[in-house]
C-alpha cells in the first residue's frame, strides 16, 4: 500500500499502549506525563501564557493598539518593552496578541485533529472503497504545497479571522488524518474490535468507543502538532500581510514591525517579543509532544543505567535494555 511506505517515523510511536487493555494505559500515561520533566516544563509555560492571555484586559485595559507615548522609545520603567514607531506600547500589544494567536492556534489544532479523527477512523473502520477514496483525498492535500496554497486561498477569500482559521484548517488536517488512519488501522485488526463487530455493535460505537480510546496518546500528539502548526502558520500568513491586519496578534505585530522598518531603524524591542512568545509556545508544546512520545514509546525513554555500570560500554547495555 502506497501510504504505508510514506509513513513518517513518528507514526509508530503510539503502538505500544494500543495492545494493552483500555483503561490502564491511560492512567499510567497521565502519571508518566506528570513525572516527566519535559512535560512539566512544557505545561507550566503553556499555563503561564494562557493565564496571561485571559488576564490581558485586566493587565492592559483598553485598546492595545492606541497610541500612548512617543514613537520608538527604548524599553524603560514606564514602557517595559518600549514603544513602536507609531507610539504603541509593545508590552500591551504582545500581551493582547497572545489572545488571538492562542485562540487561532487552538481552534485550528482542535478542528484539524477532529477532521483527522473522523477521516482516519472512517478510513480504517470501513476499509475498501471508502479507505481508498479518503486516502486519496488526504494524500492529495498532503502533497499540495502548503504555504503557496495558504497564500492563494487567503488572496481569494475575504480577509478576516474566520478566513485565517478556515484556510489553516484546510491546509492542516491532512497530516493528522494520515497519522491517525495508520494508527486506527493497526487497532482495527485487533481481536477486541473483531469481537465488537461480531457482537453487532453499531459502526459509530465501535469507532468512537472501541477504537478511539485506544489511540488517545497519538491523538494528543497529533493535536499538539496541529496547534503548533496553527500558531506558526497564522504568524507566517499575517507576517505576509494576508491575515486580518486590524486584529492584534503576534503575527500582525511582526507584520507591522516589518512594515514600519523596525529593524532598519534598530528598534529591536518591537520585533523581539512577539517572535520569542511564538517560539516559547511552540517549544512548550513540542516539549509536551516529546514527553508523550517518550511515555508511550519505551525505546525513546532515557535509560536509567545503574551507577555501577562501566562508563565505557554504554551502547551494548542500551540495546539489550531496549528489547
Amino acid at each position: 500500500m502506497a501510504t504505508a511506505i510514506l509513513q513518517q517515523p513518528g507514526t509508530t510511536a503510539g503502538k505500544t499502549p494500543a495492545a494493552k487493555p483500555k483503561t490502564k494505559p491511560n492512567r499510567s500515561f497521565i502519571h508518566g506525563l506528570l513525572t516527566n520533566r519535559k512535560a512539566l516544563v512544557g505545561m507550566a509555560v503553556m499555563a503561564l501564557f494562557i493565564v496571561v492571555a485571559l488576564l490581558a484586559p485586566v493587565l492592559f485595559p483598553g485598546d492595545p493598539s492606541r497610541i500612548t507615548a512617543m514613537a520608538s522609545l527604548e524599553p524603560d520603567a514606564e514602557h517595559w518593552l518600549g514603544t513602536t514607531a507609531k507610539g504603541q506600547d509593545v508590552l500591551a500589544l504582545t500581551v493582547h496578541g497572545a489572545r488571538s494567536s492562542l485562540l487561532v492556534g487552538l481552534t485550528v489544532g482542535f478542528a484539524s485533529t477532529f477532521i483527522g479523527i473522523l477521516v482516519g477512523l472512517a478510513s480504517a473502520y470501513f476499509g475498501r472503497f471508502i479507505d481508498e477514496a479518503l486516502s486519496l483525498v488526504t494524500n492529495v492535500f498532503l502533497l499540495l504545497p502548503g504555504l503557496p496554497l495558504l497564500v492563494i486561498l487567503a488572496a481569494f477569500l475575504p480577509p478576516g479571522l474566520g478566513t485565517v482559521i478556515l484556510v489553516l484548517v484546510v491546509t492542516g488536517w491532512a497530516g493528522s488524518a494520515r497519522v491517525l488512519r495508520s494508527q486506527a488501522l493497526s487497532i482495527r485488526s485487533k481481536d477486541f474490535v473483531a469481537a465488537a463487530v461480531v457482537s453487532g455493535e453499531r459502526a459509530g460505537r465501535i469507532m468512537f468507543r472501541e477504537i478511539l480510546p485506544n489511540m488517545a496518546s497519538i491523538v494528543m500528539g497529533t493535536l499538539l502538532a496541529c496547534v503548533i502548526y496553527g500558531i506558526g502558520a497564522q504568524a507566517g500568513l499575517e507576517f505576509l500581510g494576508l491575515g486580518d491586519v486590524s486584529t492584534v496578534s503576534w503575527g500582525n505585530n511582526l507584520f507591522w514591525a516589518g512594515n514600519e522598518g523596525a529593524l532598519l531603524t534598530g528598534s529591536w524591542w518591537v520585533f523581539v517579543p512577539s517572535g520569542v512568545c511564538i517560539a516559547l509556545v511552540a517549544f512548550a508544546l513540542a516539549l509536551i509532544n516529546y514527553a508523550v512520545d517518550e511515555v508511550t514509546n519505551p525505546r525513546l525513554r532515557k535509560i536509567k543505567t545503574p551507577k555501577t555500570a562501566t562508563a565505557g560500554t554504554p551502547a551494548p547495555i542500551e540495546r539489550s535494555a531496549a528489547k
Binding site: L136, V151, K323
Partner: protein, 325 residues
C-alpha cells in the same frame, strides 16, 4: 512496475485536483476578483486583454463545463495568460525567469540540511546519551520553534545590517551582468549564504531527530547484534548496517523537502527579497495579478509532484520490498 504506475496515477489525480482548484477558486469565491482587479488597473489594460482575462477567471457567460474544458486545454498547451503586473510579459515567461533562483536557493539549503542533519542523527543514535545526543536536539528543537521568518529577519538584521558581512537583498548585486565569470558566481554565492543558512538552521533539527529515532529502532535489530558479534568495526556497523537501513524515512522526507524547495522558500524569498517564484507569488497576490498567481501555483504544484514521483522511483531502487509486492 505496478507500484510506479499506481503512483503515477496518483500524481496525475493530484495535479488534476490542483488545476481544478485553480479553476474553481476565482469562480466560487465571494466577491469578484475580476472587478477588484479592473478597478485597479483599468487604465493600463487593453480591451482584448480584459476579454481574455474575463475568460481566464470565468467571468463569461459560457456554461461551466465548457469553460472548464477550455481551461484544461489552455493549461496543457502552456497558455497561462498574460501577467497583469508585468504586462505584457506572458505568465510562463515571468515564471521561467525566476524558477532558477528558487531551485538554487532551495536546493542548496535542502542538500546541506539533509546531509548534515542525517549525519548528526546517525551519530546521536549511535552514541545514545553522548554529547551530541543530549545537547543538540533540545537546542535545535528550540531554534526550530521560532517562526522561520522571524529568525530570517533577525539574521538579516544582525549579519546584514549591523555587521554588514553579507548583502541584505536580491540574488546578485544590481548592475552586475549575469555571466559565468568568477566575479558573478562569487557574488551570487555571497547573496546565497544568509537565506540558505537560515533555512538550514530551522530544518536541520527535523532531519536529525527523524534519523535518530528511526536509527534507535534499527539499532535494536538482531542483525546489529550479529554484526557486533562478528567483530566488525563499529564505524562500519553504524554506517553500513544501521544507518543504511534507517535511511528510508529520510528519503521520503527528502521528497517532501523538495516540495519545500519550490513552495516553502516563499518566506525566505520574501524576507531577503530573493527573486524566486515565492517572492513573485506574494507580489502577484499584492498586485492582484490573478493570472500570474494561478500560473505560479500550478508551476509550484507540478514541481512538487514531479519531485515526489522521482523519489518514488528512487524508492523502488532502494527498497526491494516495494519491488516484490
Amino acid at each position: 512496475m505496478r507500484f510506479i504506475l499506481r503512483r503515477l496515477g496518483f500524481y496525475l489525480v493530484a495535479f488534476w485536483a490542483s488545476i481544478t482548484l485553480n479553476f474553481l477558486l476565482p469562480r466560487f469565491m465571494p466577491g469578484d476578483p475580476v472587478s477588484r482587479m479592473f478597478a485597479r488597473s483599468q487604465d493600463r489594460m487593453q480591451p482584448e486583454q480584459i476579454e481574455a482575462l474575463r475568460r481566464l477567471l470565468g467571468v463569461d457567460d459560457r456554461p461551466l463545463w465548457e469553460q472548464y474544458a477550455g481551461y484544461l486545454q489552455n493549461i496543457f498547451t502552456g497558455q497561462m495568460g498574460v501577467s497583469i503586473s508585468r504586462f505584457p510579459a506572458p505568465v510562463t515567461e515571468v515564471i521561467s525567469s525566476q524558477i532558477g533562483w528558487t531551485l538554487l536557493l532551495g536546493g542548496t539549503a535542502l542538500v546541506i540540511a539533509a546531509v548534515v542533519g542525517n549525519l548528526l542523527g546517525i551519530v546521536a543514535a549511535w552514541r545514545r546519551g553522548g554529547a551530541i545526543d543530549s545537547a543538540l536536539p533540545p537546542v535545535l528543537v528550540f531554534i526550530g520553534s521560532f517562526p522561520y521568518f522571524w529568525l530570517a529577519m533577525g539574521a538579516l538584521y544582525l549579519f546584514g545590517v549591523v555587521l554588514g558581512w553579507f548583502p541584505i537583498r536580491h540574488a546578485f548585486t544590481d548592475g552586475l551582468e549575469p555571466a559565468f565569470t568568477w566575479e558573478f558566481i562569487g557574488d551570487v554565492g555571497a547573496h546565497l549564504v544568509l537565506p540558505a543558512l537560515t533555512i538550514v538552521l530551522v530544518s536541520i533539527g527535523g532531519w536529525m531527530l527523524g534519523m535518530r529515532n528511526t536509527m534507535i529502532a534499527t539499532n535494536s535489530e538482531d542483525y546489529i547484534t550479529m554484526a557486533e558479534a562478528k567483530g566488525l568495526r563499529p564505524g562500519r556497523i553504524m554506517l553500513r548496517y544501521a544507518a543504511r537501513n534507517a535511511m528510508l524515512p529520510s528519503v521520503t522526507s527528502f521528497g517532501m523537502g523538495l516540495g519545500f524547495v519550490v513552495g516553502g522558500a516563499l518566506l525566505t524569498e520574501v524576507v531577503f527579497a530573493y527573486p524566486g517564484v515565492g517572492y513573485q507569488l506574494l507580489n502577484a497576490v499584492q498586485g492582484l495579478d490573478y493570472p500570474l498567481m494561478q500560473g505560479l501555483f500550478l508551476t509550484i504544484t507540478a514541481a512538487v509532484l514531479l519531485a515526489n514521483f522521482l523519489v518514488d522511483i528512487l524508492y523502488v531502487r532502494l527498497d526491494p520490498r516495494v519491488r516484490s509486492n
